[in-house]
Amino acid sequence: MKFQKRLLRAEPNFQILTKLWQVNWLYVLLICALAVIGYGALYSAGGGTSRPFAGPQSIRFCFGLVMMLGIALMSPAILVRMAWPLYIFSLILLVAVLRMGHVGKGAERWLMLGGMQVQPSELAKIALVLMLASWFHKISYRSMGNPLMLVPPALMVLLPVALVLKEPNLGTAVIIGTVGASMFFGAGMRLWQIALLVLPMPFLARIAYGHLHDYQKARVTTFLHPESDPLGAGYNIIQSKIALGSGGMWGQGYLRGTQGQLNFLPEKQTDFIFTMIAEEWGYVGGITVIGMLLLLVFGGMLIAMRSRNQFGRLLGLGISMNFFLYCAVNLSMVMGAIPVGGVPLPLISYGGSAMLMVMFGFGLLMSAWVHRNSTFGETTPGEKD
């Protein structure tokens, strides 16, 4: 330790270099591979040019990559200090977007900040993960047994969920809620506490359905009977299934996917980018992408497990869970397994703030990996008892 401190004083860049060296480059390589697939898909979605989608997206990715590495170097102590301000900031943005946000396609709300479209719900998810990780890091595993200790983090989850629901963006609200719940679970919430929460759920779901918007209800019904309204709300699902099916085992060939290239596919560059890939590359391409996404999810979870501090573990779990839910909801959606909602496929879909926030999340994950052996400020049972 002393040697290291001396070395740091002599050569300030040493820490940065060692930390950079410690970044899990295999994981970064996997991220880059998916981004390359995304670039190819957007190139095809743009009709064989990089101009509309692929070009801007690749610039965003490079920017995100630099940001990710920057965040990876930040120590957990700094990140914990960032948690509160970031969380409050995200809440302010969520309120602001309700007041003066622009509505696109009835759901996704965005703000214009410095000439950039920002979806506050994207930031809110990452901010919540950071917030919960730092909260559970500070309280001991024992004190989790006290239900009162769970009230503040529960409010931290419910506040953004309520605001996002108000937008109204059901899909993102469910994802935020689920990410929050998984972090409660990972933090060591007692089983009886879980049971107490889960049992009244069906009842609550019924009430919630009553409060859904008409278009959201329509999504549920057309999901159950997509053929009932083939040119209306069921159109997206049917077209997506047709495109997937026409891909077959080996696909139509790159840039030759008829459904995508001919615009039968709705929102092919955003929500339905996976359909585009699977049509052009077939089942082989589709399952490869799913496999790579799964590797990223599992990798994140393993990074979380490797961490020797609760903050890093929960941070890794939250980020992985968030990433996983994005993938799962988007893939289910394009395969007609759940009602359609504006959830992009991370790293691949076209979209600025989603890309930046995903990379921000991976930055936090990398930080957890780089600082996995740090045991900062954690209350160990020995110390406390």
Partner: protein
């Protein structure tokens, strides 16, 4: 890689037991649980993908094929109509149009404003565009302006960058280069009516037109052609992405008429502004070389829709510009009927060419006195003189002897009051040669006097100018020629275009000779009724017959007052002036019939007109030319 990580996971899992922090152990177990759930969910999605893509792939592939292929049909170009020399009388004009695709511009009003600065829009257009913008889907083009000039196009092309959503597109419109000149023969086209579309879906195609009159109507199916189609890849909003297969369809057949447009023009020039019709025929084969009905109308107005004011003007005009008088106008033939009566009597044996009848200026039949046009009578005359002087009493007596039925039978053989099966025009009227049977069928008694007035082509007798021309042709050749207007369809010559095909008339040739001689005398002999019809061409004579058909009964009181002059009557009560003729007399080639509505006296008005028309025809001699003899005519007129 997965395996190795799992192993490391196991290794991690064992750690908490050694360590001191229970939260780590709990976390690891629960994280593994979550990973199992995550793996299960993504695995299930992979399985679903397998089902969609591989197991049901062919089903969806078929749906996909339907999704992207779209067959569209387009209207074939309508067949051209030409005159006998190949000069277009109905053609298609390329019509450059500016269209607006609303979905391709974010600022429709701005685009329209800039467009209007380049190519002015009529207020009517602006209203229509606004209406269509509200009612049409955004990907269906809206017509901004058609018939763009080259200047308009150049200005638009130059400013295309500032006109997002504006397209320039080409269609065709029917044009009639001769306008009113050929309107009655060629007819016109109009957009199909809704009931037409019900019977034939092809007609719903944009640009499809239906013939509404003339050759355009009767030859509509030939002219229409075969609908073309193009198979295209379209996107979900129906926009064309690529063309896969094209069936160009078949352009409509080109139809060549027997009309000589140059002659037609000259005939119209001769008619001037009289309400009249004239038909010139090749009397050997029935080809109609000119068919003029005056006044006329502009057929191209129907393509875009006729204005209410224009329509009212046409329909209220007593000179009926919309009606083809040559086939739809019915007139009493008057004295032009006399050769037919003579032939009927010769055939019936009630008259021989040498029989003489005395004309005292009147005849009494069944207690009624019938006057000759000449108050003092023509004395004792034979058939030749009867025709030459157009003596009414002679033909009253011939008709009385012969009876109505033989007269009707013979005149129908000449085409009078008969159907002319070959004429390719709509609204052809048959006219009437009355018979006692016909009269009784209508609940009336046939009087002896009815036969008498029919003998001079008055009373119930009604014929068309085309029938008169056919009649003249048949007298001239003794052959059953059939008038027709079409020379060839898509290059195939129509039947009966050569002399040999027209069968003989089953009437003795010497009867024809007697009648022709009488008609020769009418024009060429001193005292004939139509000296004004004498041709000014050396060595060529014309034979003809005048006619003045009363449209109102002239009362005896008026006649006996001695001051009767039909020229003083109001226009609509004046007699029609008629003339039929053929030339050259010794080798007949052309036959002409002229009817001038309320023209008063055939001898004074119709005969000179017929002579002029015949002179023009003979000078052009269209049947002996393969090329339009336009220059020669111009030369001749200068002389």
């Amino acid at each position: 890689m997965k395996l190795r990580k799992k192993k490391s996971g196991n290794r991690l899992m064992s750690r908490p037991e050694e360590g001191k922090n229970p939260s780590r152990g709990v976390f690891t177990r629960r994280a593994l649980l979550l990973m199992a759930a995550q793996g299960a969910v993504l695995g299930a999605l992979g399985e679903r993908l397998y089902g969609l893509q591989v197991l049901n792939g062919s089903h969806y592939a078929k749906l996909a094929e339907n999704n992207r292929l779209s067959k569209r049909f387009f209207a074939p170009p309508r067949g051209r109509i030409t005159d006998r020399f190949g000069i277009s009388v109905a053609a298609n004009r390329i019509n450059w149009r500016a269209l607006l695709l609303a979905e391709e511009t974010s600022d429709i009003n701005g685009t329209l404003e800039r467009f209007a600065q380049l190519v002015p829009l009529e207020p009517r257009d602006s209203v229509r565009i606004e209406h269509e913008l509200r009612h049409k889907r955004r990907f269906i083009p809206i017509m901004l302006r058609d018939f763009l000039s080259w200047d308009d196009m150049a200005r638009l092309e130059l400013n295309m960058p500032s006109l997002p959503g504006v397209l320039i597109d080409v269609g065709t419109t029917r044009v009639y280069p001769f306008g009113p000149l050929m309107a009655h023969v060629v007819g016109y086209v109009a957009p199909p009516a809704e009931k037409d579309v019900v019977h034939n879906a092809e007609l719903a195609l944009p640009g499809m037109r239906v013939g509404r009159s003339g050759i355009e109507q009767t030859q509509d199916l030939n002219l229409r052609g075969q609908v073309g189609s193009v198979e295209m890849e379209v996107n979900a909003v129906g926009r064309v992405m690529a063309e896969l297969d094209r069936d160009p369809g078949l352009a409509g057949d080109e139809i060549a008429l027997t009309i000589d447009s140059g002659l037609q023009q000259q005939v119209l020039g001769r008619i001037g502004d009289q309400s009249a019709s004239a038909v010139v025929m090749d009397c050997r084969n029935g080809e109609v070389l000119a068919m003029v009905s005056n006044p006329s109308f502009d057929p191209s107005l129907f393509d875009s829709g006729v204005s209410q004011a224009q329509w009212i003007e046409w329909t209220n005009n007593s000179q009926t510009p919309l009606i083809n008088k040559a086939v739809s106008g019915l007139y009493p033939p008057g004295s032009t009927f006399k050769p037919a009566v003579a032939m009927a009597a010769l055939r019936a044996g009630t008259l021989s060419p040498s029989d003489r009848i005395t004309c005292p200026g009147y005849i009494d039949v069944g207690g009624t006195r019938f006057h000759c046009w000449s108050r003092y009578g023509h004395g004792t005359i034979n058939l030749r003189q009867g025709l030459k002087y157009s003596c009414d009493v002679f033909f009253y007596e011939v008709a009385r002897r012969t009876g109505m039925d033989p007269i009707a039978a013979t005149s129908e053989l000449f085409g009078l009051g008969a159907r002319l099966p070959e004429i390719e025009l709509p609204h052809v009227r048959q006219g009437l040669i009355p018979t006692p049977t016909w009269r009784r069928a209508h609940g009336h008694h046939w009087n002896g006097g009815d036969t008498i007035v029919s003998g001079i082509g008055q009373g119930f007798v009604q014929v068309t100018p085309l029938q008169l021309a056919t009649y003249a042709s048949r007298i001239a050749t003794g052959r059953n020629v059939q008038p027709h207007l079409i020379r060839s369809v898509a290059g195939r010559m129509a039947d009966l275009t050569d002399l040999g095909r027209a069968p003989g008339m089953d009437m003795p040739e010497h009867f024809f000779a007697d009648i022709r001689a009488g008609m020769y005398a009418v024009v060429n002999e001193e005292g004939g009724t139509a000296p004004k019809a004498r041709l000014d061409i050396p060595g060529v004579q014309m034979a003809g017959k005048t006619g003045s058909a009363q449209v109102r009964r002239v009362s005896r009181a008026m006649r006996e007052s001695g001051h009767f002059n039909s020229a003083n009557l109001p226009w609509e009560y004046r007699p029609h002036a008629l003339f039929i003729c053929f030339a050259p007399y010794d080798a007949p080639r052309y036959a002409t019939a002229v009817v001038i509505e309320h023209g008063n006296a055939g001898a004074d008005v119709a005969a000179p007109l017929a002579r002029d028309i015949m002179t023009d025809t003979l000078r052009r001699d269209p049947v002996n030319h393969r090329e339009p003899p336009g220059q020669e005519v111009a030369q001749a007129e200068v002389d």
